[in-house]
């Protein structure tokens, strides 16, 4: 019988070669099933538009080539780029710095980790077989996703962060990802944050890199939030203009646990940020917001899944997209309420402001409800700036560009307001102002 060989794109073939060539260089262990992850990816391939979950974001054509995994940068190069890093730069924080996807100990604050927190470089955790590694991949659905599985297959570095039960960590931890170099490369990082019962921590995550280089970051953040613990997360995508940036946040929430995560997108020619939430314990709460500012030929995809498995879960999602030029915004959101998850209260909203004739927005909200006593809703809006509001502002003396900026800022501001950490919120507002100022 003839063997059936699936057709592969050059990028898929390239990835398979790279995987075989590089897998032995990476640390491995029982908890990280690289081989299975890659076999999964190989079976599904880079998704085309025919795959429902990637209908609006064609990864197959975004990845023409498989870029080589980035090497560990020299100490000099790392020091030079860190000096110019901008993401959340002014904020008092304990920083873990990644340059080209590799943790740079010299440029990190490993020596002043706050009380109640332990940080283990992922490479070390993997070679030691760290006990907490079995908490990786906290949400089942993530392992049915080719982006996440590629991350697992090529995982090169990251960090394991444990927050002791009851520890209320004041100083935020800053995961700072900086890309540098002049040729295309790929990175795959994973951070795992494990919060013990009643623990509280804020994690800032920033991504930045050079314009004009088609590098391919794939970053994942796995989080387990034990009962009564609170995880706060502020993410800034300021990747270079040609980057193809993939990211996944998966979090599992215990009883009365909470998560607050806000993602601001300004960079990358194509980005896809995936959020998977599992409401495992009763009365867990989630705020998941996003603000994207797009122009040129940018495409930013936010794909969200909330899986309510326990009673009384509350989730609020607000995604704001501003589209200028010939950019495209994509929002796919799904709330699943399992039969046991009575009294779930979920509200998901995606709103888009289109500033140009060629901009577009794709919205796909879904609810899948198996319980009968729930309050769930979703909404999606799309529109231009309100002429009457513009006139009102101009009639008070604001020039048109300033009036538009004020309205755009107000529109996006609603999504950013949810950030509890004041300095981080202000940093996001400053990003919005910077984008608007550049728009002129």
């Amino acid at each position: 019988m003839a063997e059936i060989t699936p057709l592969r794109s050059p990028a898929e073939t390239g990835l398979a070669k790279l995987f075989e060539a590089t897998k032995m260089r990476y640390p491995t262990g029982v908890s990280i099933a690289r081989e299975e992850a890659f076999r999964y990816f190989e079976a599904v391939g880079l998704p085309t538009r025919r795959v429902e979950a990637f209908k609006y974001t064609d990864l197959s054509s975004a990845f023409r080539d498989a870029a080589h995994p980035a090497e560990v940068p020299s100490a000099e190069l790392a020091a030079a780029v860190v000096a110019g890093a901008q993401g959340f730069a002014g904020i008092e924080a304990v920083r873990l710095t990644f340059v080209n996807g590799h943790l740079i100990a010299d440029q990190s604050d490993l020596g002043r980790i706050p009380a109640g927190v332990t940080v283990t470089p992922l490479t070390q955790a993997l070679s030691e077989g760290h006990a907490l590694l079995d908490q990786l991949t906290p949400v089942r659905q993530a392992s049915e996703n080719p982006i996440y599985q590629l991350n697992t297959a090529f995982l090169a570095d990251g960090a394991l962060i444990a927050v002791k039960a009851g520890a209320k960590v004041e100083t935020p931890l800053h995961l700072r990802f900086i890309a540098t170099v002049s040729e295309a490369f790929s990175t795959a990082t994973r951070a795992l944050v494990v919060l013990g019962e009643g623990a509280e921590v804020t994690v800032l995550e920033s991504h930045e890199g050079p314009d004009g280089v088609a590098y391919q970051p794939n970053d994942a953040l796995d989080v387990t939030v034990a009962d009564n613990a609170a995880f706060r997360h502020v993410r800034l995508n300021a990747e270079g203009r040609e980057a193809v940036a993939l990211s996944t946040l998966s979090a599992k929430l215990g009883a009365q646990a909470s998560i607050e995560t806000v993602n601001l997108v300004v960079g990358a020619v194509l980005s896809r940020h995936q959020v998977y939430l599992n409401f495992a314990g009763a009365d867990a709460k989630a705020i998941v917001n996003g603000a994207s500012m797009l122009n040129g030929s940018q495409l930013a995809d936010t794909t969200f899944l909330a899986d309510h498995a326990a009673t009384g879960g509350v989730s609020r999602e607000l995604f704001k997209t501003v589209v200028d030029g010939a950019a495209t915004g994509v929002f796919q959101g799904k709330i699943i309420v399992q039969q046991a998850a009575q009294q779930t209260d979920g509200k998901m909203m995606s709103a888009c402001l289109i500033l140009s004739d060629d901009g577009q927005m794709m919205n796909k909200p879904e609810l899948e409800i198996f319980a009968d006593d729930v309050a769930c809703g979703h909404g999606a809006t799309c529109g231009a700036l309100d002429d009457d509001l513009l006139f009102y502002l101009m009639a008070r003396g604001l020039p048109k560009a300033q009036a538009e900026s004020l309205l755009v800022q107000a529109f996006l501001g609603e999504a950013v307001e949810a950030v509890s950490h004041e300095a981080a919120r202000e940093a996001l507002v400053a990003e919005i102002e910077r984008w608007l100022a550049a728009r002129g």
Binding site: D387, D388, L389, F391, Y392, L393, M394, A395, R396, G397, L398, P399, K400, Q402, A403, L406, L407, Q409, A410, F411, G413, E414
Partner: protein, 249 residues
């Protein structure tokens, strides 16, 4: 001084203003009264520069300069102020942020320096006190969740801060209870000054008991059909607009 000369305006092929002429001198308070649909609100929008209207003929001169050539923000900087009949709610834009942005934009357009934050706050607080606007309102998003009366008081607050030369009040009395009407009117009266003129647009004579005009003009079918002193408002209150409707038709 504002001179409106033979203004002809249409919107989507509908002629609204038919050769309207009107002069308001410095320091003068002119009232325009007229039935529904006579073009009063259109006049206010055309003065402020709303885009939807097509000006076919005529000019509007502010101190001799034709403002029809200017964008709305340029008109504002030149001293035109429209108090809206329905002030808009602007979610997400803090009232103080808005006030500061407008004040500084106008100062910048006139080549003046920006106001320092303490000076700005002092100025706003003083004006707010006079209009019985409490500090909580100033902390909220502009007009969001404000009552009708609060929104109108906020319009007058803006007028007081921006110190325009020519103020158009478009049915500022609509939606006001007696107390709010008094507060708003006192706010306007306090701004009456030698170099500042007002055009007060209203359906009812009631407002003119509080803001006593120097001249009253009757508008019908897009033109001024009769002008007189303040007693004309009382006549209209007694006789209604019927006479002017037929006369113009």
């Amino acid at each position: 001084m504002i001179e409106i000369k033979n203004l002809v305006v249409q919107i989507e092929d509908n002629r609204i203003l038919n050769g309207l002429s009107l002069t308001v001198n410095d320091g003068e308070v002119a009232a325009i009264m007229g039935p529904n649909g006579s073009g009063k609100s259109t006049l206010s929008y055309v003065i402020a520069g709303k885009e939807d209207y097509e000006v076919l003929d005529g000019e509007i001169l502010l101190d001799g300069e034709n403002i029809l050539e200017m964008s709305p923000d340029e008109r504002a900087a030149a001293g035109v102020f429209l108090a809206f009949q329905y002030p808009l709610e602007i979610p997400g834009v803090g009232t103080m942020t808005f006030l500061k942005a407008t004040l500084n934009a106008q100062r910048k357009a006139r080549g003046e320096g920006e106001l320092s934050t303490p000076d700005f706050i002092r100025k706003v607080n003083a004006a707010a006190d006079k209009l019985e606007i409490n500090k909580d309102m100033l902390k909220r998003a502009l007009n969001v969740g404000f009552s009708g009366g609060e929104k109108k008081r906020m319009e007058i607050l803006q007028m007081a801060l921006l110190e325009p030369k020519f103020c158009v009040l478009d049915e500022t009395d609509s939606g006001l209870d007696i107390d709010a009407l008094r507060i708003v009117s006192e706010g306007v009266n306090a701004l009456r000054a030698q170099g500042r003129s007002f055009l007060v647009i209203t359906h009812y004579q009631r407002l003119l008991n509080h803001i006593v005009p120097d001249t009253v003009h009757v508008m019908s079918q897009g033109r001024i059909v009769k002008s007189g002193g303040k007693e004309l408002a009382l006549e209209l209150e007694a006789s209604g607009y019927a006479e002017y409707r037929t006369e113009a038709a």
